[in-house]
Symmetry: C2
Subunit: 159 residues, 2 copies
């Protein structure tokens, strides 16, 4: 089971857009170049963030992407759901009802006990993702690399 | 992000092997037929369970698969790890270090704050999986469908 690398790209792009500031939209090409990512694929992730209401895009010569709300109001869950979709990782296909193993329909009114147990674990994961905001991560990232925000702004200004 | 359907197959196969009992090895073909699953693919999952030390296989005319320990000693995590492998779903590729965005190596001594935050959520998921045994699930499954164990044993006896 593997999450698409688009999640990592989207998370860092949100952080970079926060560092760029609300008044400086950044194009997908520039965001991609900053970390040597393929621009068309990053653009796809950015469009997913637009659909999720996390970033907005403006067109025109000075257009680009910008965050529509502060990092403190964006959780890891918001970004993961935007990129990976809302479906659960474990999807029960009700094999318990198939073939000679299937019993009377009355036995299947409740969800399969395996599906229930797996969903409980996934809920713990989602809760943890929903409990952490990008602002929490920004604070740690800046503590590790205090020069990072200014490096981005300088690079954008010279672009 | 989607878990392979092999996880569902492996979970139900363990339950079926428990219902079959320790003295009745069951072939992959029979286990597959019971829920109308493709035998070659189920066999692949069963081999993964063998490598993980959850089931054992014996050859010969009366050979097949059997559980090597009680369901109370098999967690959901054991089965998921056997089928999906031990890797984390979110794998940081350190894009923060790539391109103009990369800073001094000293900034990268600690793991990326996003990787850390994602790992924390995944740990919550793994803990929950490790805290639930197949015995917990068996109890619920039998409460829902009390005839299921005997239905399997009868079907195997007539096979």
């Amino acid at each position: 089971m593997r999450m698409t690398e688009g999640v990592e790209w989207a998370l860092h792009s949100c952080l970079n857009l926060a560092w760029a500031g609300p008044d400086r939209p950044v194009t997908a090409a520039r965001l991609a170049a900053y970390h040597e990512l393929p621009a068309p694929y990053l653009n796809k992730q950015l469009q997913a963030l637009v659909r999720a209401g996390i970033v907005a895009s403006t067109s025109g010569p000075r257009g680009g992407f910008r965050l529509v709300r502060p990092l403190a109001q964006i959780t890891l869950m918001d970004v993961v759901a935007a990129i990976e979709g809302p479906d659960e990782a474990f999807r029960c296909t009700e094999i318990r009802q198939q073939g000679p193993g299937g019993g009377a329909p009355a036995s299947y009114r409740l969800p399969c006990a395996f599906a229930h147990a797996m969903a409980r674990a996934e809920l713990a994961w989602r809760r943890e993702l929903a409990g952490q905001t990008l602002e929490d991560v920004r604070e740690q990232a800046e503590a590790q690399a205090p020069a990072a925000p200014e490096r981005l702004r300088r690079w954008l200004a010279n672009g």
